[in-house]
């Protein structure tokens, strides 16, 4: 087990370095004025230009730039946004939690739904039921999530008026305690649903495969031989033993949540990291863009590492070797 941990770590660190290196290389390849490229659509005075050139080593060889960027990273300096006039890390710290909340809310819907559909289609003996859910999952997988988000808004918010069309909360909120929580839930409902539509099908698919594998195991026959009801077998043997692959998929999905967040947060004007990234791209605030992307890479690599470790801890085969 310890060997496994060690080698995984050994694997993750060079990956991170390589990712940063490639991104900085891309920065280097931008045609035109490097200072303007970093700063974006922001007018640059000569003094300012000199300061930036010095601070980011724009005149120095590429490798020096990379090195200094890494040193900065280690100090928690992800760059400075000239559009927003704040350090990038500040912006990230402010917006990332909102994206995490959205992701978790989405999981709250997607995981039970995915498990239920996966178990149903995996354990049913009725081929038609299985085919129905498999086709439904396939189609749900293929629907563009940002369009689905728009549809949700059109139907549930605009037409029926049951939910707000956008945002994280009302402009002015005087609610406290439980009513504050309910208000928040009201605003997060549609974005979470859309997010669930994004991740749910994948969970359902993995679950179905895992359930099918489990059903092929000997102990299921033992369970039948004992006279357990269908539901008892599912609850006592199928669910527990099929869940492990799902844990890894959910974990990885948490890491790459930014991908879905970028589009969904734009649809719902949810002020998270995804929306921030889009805004930065629109005004060519490349410092911020690069800072966010590197942060995302870091988060993904770390989360994937943790997920792999968790899997090793839970898998009876690895645990017991």
């Amino acid at each position: 087990m310890l060997r496994f941990v060690f080698f995984r770590l050994l694997h993750a660190i060079p990956l991170l370095i390589a990712v940063v290196f490639v991104i900085l290389l891309m920065l280097q390849l931008i045609p035109g004025d490097p200072v303007q490229a970093m700063v974006g659509d922001f007018p640059v005075s000569p003094d300012f230009r000199a300061a930036i050139t010095k601070q980011y080593h724009l005149d120095d060889p590429f490798l020096v730039r990379v090195y200094s960027y890494f040193v900065n990273l280690l100090h928690g300096d992800f760059g400075y946004s000239y559009q927003f006039q704040r350090p990038v890390l500040d912006l990230i710290v402010e917006t990332a939690p909102r994206t995490i909340v959205l992701t978790l809310a989405g999981f709250l819907v997607a995981i039970p739904l995915g498990v239920a559909i996966g178990v149903i289609s995996g354990t049913t003996r009725n081929k038609r039921v299985d085919r129905f859910w498999t086709s439904a999952t396939l189609i749900a997988y293929a629907i563009p999530t940002f369009w689905f988000g728009q549809l949700l808004v059109l139907v549930l918010a605009v037409h029926f008026g049951w939910f707000p069309t956008q945002g994280m909360g009302p402009l002015v909120s005087r609610a406290h305690g439980l009513s504050w929580l309910l208000e928040r839930a009201h605003y997060i409902a549609l974005p979470a649903l859309a997010f669930a539509a994004y991740e749910g099908p994948r969970f359902a698919r993995i679950m179905r495969v895992s359930v099918t594998d489990t059903l092929g195991q000997g102990y299921i026959i033992t369970a039948r031989a004992k006279g357990l009801t269908r539901w008892a077998i599912i609850r006592g043997h199928v669910l527990r033993n099929s869940s492990l692959p799902l844990v890894t998929v959910v974990g990885y999905a948490l890491g790459s949540a930014l991908g879905g967040a970028v589009l969904l947060e734009t649809v719902f004007t949810w002020p998270g990291l995804g929306l921030l990234l889009v805004q930065a791209v629109r005004v060519r605030d490349n410092m911020t863009v690069v800072g966010i992307v590197i942060f995302a890479a870091l988060a993904i690599i770390v989360i994937n590492l943790l997920v792999d470790l968790l899997y090793a801890a839970l898998d009876p085969r690895i645990r017991n070797s």
Binding site: L215, Q217, G218, T222, A225
Partner: protein, 283 residues
């Protein structure tokens, strides 16, 4: 002594059972017209080599076939007069849980849930949750199955036990429903030689003490000779010979049976090196 019990009707009566499986593109005639019966308290053996269909036979009888496509399936399977192929799910479950039939398998490691403690798995066979009477009963079953320190074994996971102990857990699990019939599919094949003898002894004791009928499947006539009164010889899906164990050993009527007898004698004559010749992997 033929297959009859006190009141005359056999416990288990199988007539003309046919089970053809569709595997890949081909049809495998695993069970091809088999007549089979077991009386109350009788001990029957089914012997044959790998692929003879003996495993499929008993699984089909107990309605425990896995997810395979059936190309053909017919015949009658009567347990105490009830047609097992045509009863409802709940009725079948009732027979499995209560004074009906149980089965133990060749590969206890694969047939026990690796993520659940063995005590909990046996408790499932008894029924209710972790009430004290259930815990007591599980421990008593463990003791009856020959497990040392039942109160500790109860909390173990399958991979923490030896092969022999795992098989005893399976036995305990099978006994939980107080079955009238216990079916054992190659119960000792996957075990070490010394452990084999011990488990066989346990099965013999249980047969005697509980007066329950047993069906023992094996590729080894020697094992069957230890435990059974009558034997069916199976080959390529058909029964080629059946009869009292001594008769079959002494004067086998079919050429194939004679081969098996000869093989068994040679096996039991040689020292422990002649271990399991055919581990019937999946029949």
């Amino acid at each position: 002594m033929s297959a009859a019990s006190v009141d005359g009707a056999p416990l288990l009566d199988v007539r003309n059972l046919v089970v053809h499986l569709r595997v890949g593109g081909a049809v495998v005639r695993a069970v091809d017209g088999v007549d089979f019966s077991v009386g109350e308290g009788e001990s029957i053996g089914v012997v044959g080599e790998s692929g003879s269909g003996k495993s499929t036979l008993v699984r089909a009888i107990l309605q425990l076939l896995p997810n395979v496509e059936l190309a053909a399936s017919q015949g009658e399977v009567n347990f105490r007069g009830i047609d097992l192929a045509n009863i409802s799910g709940p009725a079948l479950r009732r027979l499995r849980r209560d004074h009906g039939f149980s089965m133990i398998f060749q590969d206890p490691l694969g047939y026990l849930n690796p993520t659940k403690r063995v005590g909990a798995q046996v408790a499932e066979a008894i029924g209710e949750k972790n009430s004290t009477p259930v815990v007591d009963r599980v421990q008593r079953l463990f003791a009856e199955a020959g497990l040392p320190s039942p109160s500790q074994v109860v909390r173990r996971y399958p991979h923490e036990l030896s092969g022999g102990m795992r098989q005893r857990v399976m036995i305990a699990m099978a006994l939980a429903s107080e079955p009238a019939l216990l079916v054992a599919d190659e119960p000792t094949t996957a075990l070490d030689a010394t452990v084999q003898l011990q488990v066989l002894e346990t099965l013999r004791r249980l047969h005697r003490d509980r007066k329950m009928a047993m069906v023992i499947i094996s590729h080894d006539l020697g094992v069957i000779a230890e435990l059974c009164d009558r034997v069916y010889v199976m080959r390529a899906g058909k029964i080629v010979e059946s009869g009292e164990i001594l008769e079959v050993f002494e004067s086998p009527k079919h050429a194939y049976t004679a081969q098996l007898v000869a093989l068994s004698k040679r096996r039991n004559a040689a020292p422990a090196s002649s271990d399991a010749i055919e581990h019937g992997a999946g029949q």
